[in-house]
């Protein structure tokens, strides 16, 4: 079959991170091709390059066999490529019809020919089952219908190759079914669909071919009919990882953290984000919290740190924390490795030594009274860089210049400074390379031996099982199971997480 799109050895680097390294993809025309990978694996960057939103540092792009050099999205639209964005780009106060023709208005004698457009849109809508009222205001439409408008908009511009960026993220199941039906219609008509996702069941449902991308590089290309979800997951995560494990028990008799009936209410009256969670954590113990993302794990950790309002009680080393602020909790000895390091833990355009202060600005060594102790901060930043193998020219380097793994190692080092009694670690190795991951595991193990209590959240099930002394599973905000990691496999944990067990 003919190849609609081919990417050859594409690389793209942003300050401090390699977004893509040697990405090669072949998409057959008239097929649905899924591009899968973990969050941050570089899927979206590849597609932005193909769509002309970003230019690759090196590599080649071929569309229908000819080499192309897109400088802007208009160039790729010209070549017949269309993109349906994850976040819709529609004018709310325009009608569906107006939104679709916007920028490509058919005119007759200087006047927009809405009738011609309407006829064409109705034809397309009928052909692909994308029914939507052309005269409805976009602000009155639901999410699924808005997405149809986006698709029609792309088709209207004559796209033969459609890129969908995580299209199901915002849809309810029934809308997903409708979308998939439309995708089949497009394929039958000879159009090519590239589908970005990290949901494996969807891939198996709609895709013909699958390309797996991991840590910025394409690692495999397989037929959807010849592969299982488990195999895809292994390809996505990579199986050559060093294995996380702990030996024996480091558990002490003193209790580090005690939660009773902790409940985090939703902001808008829906069901509680966290409901009725109770547990006791001893010093030197690691409690792993398993769960599909969005089931209340992050909110639970944020509540423990005081970032969210909650009911119930949190007792830390015998002291109730409920009336304490975030700063007081931190100063009492709680370290926090947040899930989104750039948003929650770094001042990206500040040097590392200033980032060393963040979260610790109320005490030694970075402060001398109310004044910043620059010398001591510098010295301690260098200590972290050495102990945690943070590869950067010096403490003056801006945080944004570091690669993701080095940023993460720096944060882990910072949060372990001053030996906190409790560490709240949310995805501590997300998006870091294998070496940095092993280094972070070592640090967590060593801290556990020294008596630090750790609450661990991770999407990496092997990491979660390997590092935890105990495991609890959260589903829709509640603890649904408590498991012994020694008797748990990623498969059994996976089914416990989805509530299938």
């Amino acid at each position: 079959m003919a190849i609609a799109v081919e990417l050859r050895h594409i690389s793209k680097r942003f300050p401090g991170v390699i977004a893509n390294k040697d990405v090669s993809i072949k998409v057959e025309s008239g097929s649905v091709h899924a591009l899968i990978g973990e969050n941050g694996a570089g899927k979206s960057t590849v597609m932005k390059i193909l769509y002309g939103m970003q230019r690759p540092d090196s590599g080649e792009i071929l569309v229908n066999g000819t080499t192309v050099h897109f400088k802007k999205p208009a160039d790729s639209i010209e070549a017949g490529i269309g993109m349906v964005h994850q976040h819709f780009m529609l004018a709310d106060n325009f009608t569906v019809l107006e939104n679709i023709v916007l920028g490509y208005e058919p005119s007759r004698g200087g006047v927009i020919d809405f009738n011609a457009a309407r006829v064409k849109i109705n034809e397309m809508a009928a052909a692909y089952g994308l029914t939507v009222d052309p005269d409805a205001l976009v602000e009155d439409l639901g999410v699924g219908q808005r997405q149809r408008v986006e698709i029609l908009k792309v088709l209207y511009r004559g796209a033969k190759i459609l890129i969908f960026d995580e299209p199901t993220a915002v849809l309810v199941p029934q809308e997903v079914d409708e979308l998939f039906a439309a995708l089949q219609g497009l394929r039958k008509d000879g159009l090519t669909v590239i589908f970005i996702t990290h949901k494996l069941d969807e891939v198996l449902r709609v895709a013909d071919d699958v390309t797996v991308i991991r840590a910025g590089s394409t690692v495999a290309e397989v037929k959807a009919s010849e592969v299982s979800a488990k195999k895809l997951a292994e390809l996505m995560v990579g199986s050559e990882l060093p294995s996380p494990e702990i030996h024996g028990s480091a558990k002490r008799s003193d209790i580090a953290l005690e939660l009773s009936q902790l409940t985090v209410p939703a902001e808008s009256g829906a069901r509680n984000l966290v409901s009725d969670v109770s547990f006791t954590l001893h010093a030197g113990e690691v409690l792993g919290i398993a769960g599909v993302e969005g089931n209340g794990q992050s909110e639970l950790i944020e509540a423990i740190l005081g970032l969210r309002n909650y009911t119930g009680t949190v007792i830390f080393k015998g002291e109730p924390l409920d009336d304490e602020s975030v700063s007081e909790r931190r100063d009492m000895g709680i370290g926090f490795i947040p899930e989104d390091r750039q948003r929650q833990a770094l001042l990206m355009s500040s040097p590392l030594w200033e980032n060393r202060i963040l979260g610790h600005q109320r005490g030694k060594p970075v402060m001398n009274g109310a004044l910043i102790d620059r010398k001591a901060t510098m010295a301690d930043t260098i200590r972290i860089m050495q102990e945690f193998d943070v590869r950067a020219p010096g403490p003056d380097t801006l945080a944004l210049a570091l690669s993701g793994g080095n940023q993460q190692k720096f944060i882990v080092g910072r949060e372990m400074s001053g030996s906190p009694s409790l560490l709240l670690a949310s995805h501590p190795t997300r998006g870091v390379d294998v070496g940095a991951q092993a280094a972070i595991w070592n640090e967590l193990r060593a801290a556990r031996e020294k008596g630090m209590a750790i609450v661990l959240i991770s999407a990496d099930l092997e990491e979660l099982i390997g590092l935890s002394d105990r495991l609890i599973v959260m589903l829709r905000g509640s603890v649904t199971a408590e498991l012994d990691p020694a008797k748990t496999t990623p498969e059994s944990l996976g089914s416990a997480m989805t509530g299938a067990a």
């Binding site: 602020s325 931190r330 948003r343 833990a345 963040l358 610790h360 004044l371």
Partner: protein, 366 residues
């Protein structure tokens, strides 16, 4: 670190580009009205660089600088206090009225006036701060609207309650400040340094206060915990919150402190020249100061330079009327400097990022 000569060139590139661009734009506007730019600029330079003009420019810059510090403080915290105009107006009015009522020895009297002005300015800003913290009202909107309220309120208070009769004039004014509440001129000191007295000239003593404020601003923002938390909130409010900064408290403090400093910005003229608040109180300082804070990149030194630049241009452009050029040319210069500076800084910043990523790519660091 790695590309030092280039670094310095880049730092100079933005302001130089801004100045050149502004010259081109204002020249074009002069040419469009059939005036000679060369003649105009030569005249401005000749007049503006005279000692008397320079003193006047410094005096203007003193107010501008204090107001710019007030604005920069909020910029650094990720907020925007557009209400400096109203805060300084009310601060000046109350300082003038109560300052004339109280009896205190010289230094203490001035201190008391400072406190009144800061209190009133801070209180006015506290309205916006309270609404922001409690109700989520954007401080941009509330402060700008409070400017109008302050304008009306000050006119009302002056005409109905605070005014005294001015002999032989229709102007409304508060009672003049007694000598103990007037800030001494710097002329005696300057004379010792060999500066000659100019007709109608003199340098406000408040210049000293402005300099002290500038140093204090730099120190607090860059060297203290409060400054660190303020900057963190401005750069990354989420990370600041995670680090334990109480964002509501920070917002409140930053806005109120900004208002208090703004309250002082009207005092150079009040304590150094007019000695009473009149209906003809000079407006616009709080708005010009926004441009100065932007041009000066919220840094103590940068704002001092841009305040001087604006003061100089304003004074020098008055002479343009002599050769029949609209003095508003000054406004065009002000605008084009600001616009080009903002663009130039952004262009330079992006270029630096590109350089950095290339350097990293070459180093092969991962």
């Amino acid at each position: 670190m790695r590309f030092k000569p280039g670094k310095i060139a880049l730092a100079v590139a933005a302001p130089v580009f801004a100045a050149v661009f502004s010259l081109i734009v204002s020249s074009a506007s002069l040419l469009a009205t059939n005036k000679s730019p060369r003649e105009a600029f030569a005249l401005m330079w000749e007049f503006g660089s005279g000692a008397g003009s320079l003193m006047e420019a410094v005096n203007l810059a003193t107010s501008y600088y204090i107001a710019a510090i007030a604005i920069a403080l909020t910029f650094r915290a990720g907020l925007f206090n557009i209400g400096v105009e109203g805060q300084l107006r009310l601060g000046s009015l109350f300082a003038a009225y109560f300052g004339a009522m109280i009896v205190l020895p010289p230094v203490l009297h001035i201190l008391a006036i400072f406190i009144i002005a800061m209190f009133v300015g801070g209180l006015w800003a506290a309205i916006a701060a309270y609404m922001k913290v409690k109700r989520g009202v954007s401080e941009v909107i509330s402060t700008i609207m409070l400017n109008s309220v302050a304008g009306g309120l000050s006119a009302y208070l002056l005409s109905k309650h605070f005014m005294v009769k001015v002999e032989g004039s229709n102007d409304l004014a508060t009672k003049p400040l007694p000598a103990s509440g007037q800030f001494p001129d710097l002329m005696p000191v300057l004379k010792k340094l060999g500066v000659e007295e100019q007709p109608g000239g003199g340098v406000y003593g408040m210049l000293i206060i402005a300099i002290i404020l500038g140093i204090a601003f730099w120190f607090v923002v860059n060297r203290t915990r409060f400054g660190f938390e303020l900057r963190s909130s401005g750069m990354n409010p989420i990370a600041a919150r995670v680090s334990g900064v109480n964002s509501k408290k920070m917002t409140f403090i930053a806005l109120v402190a900004s208002g208090a400093i703004a309250g002082l910005a009207g005092l150079p003229t009040l304590l150094g020249d007019t000695h009473s608040y009149t209906l003809g109180f000079r407006g616009g300082v709080g708005f010009t100061a926004i441009a100065i804070a932007l041009l000066g990149r919220n840094s103590a030194v940068g704002m001092a330079i841009s305040a001087m630049l604006f003061g100089f241009l304003e004074v020098a452009s008055r002479t343009l009327e002599l050769i029949d050029i609209a003095p508003e040319t000054y406004v065009i210069m002000q605008g084009s400097i600001l616009l080009s500076a903002v663009i130039a800084y952004e262009v330079v910043r992006r270029y630096q990022l590109t350089l950095q990523s290339h350097a990293l790519a070459k180093a092969g660091d991962k």
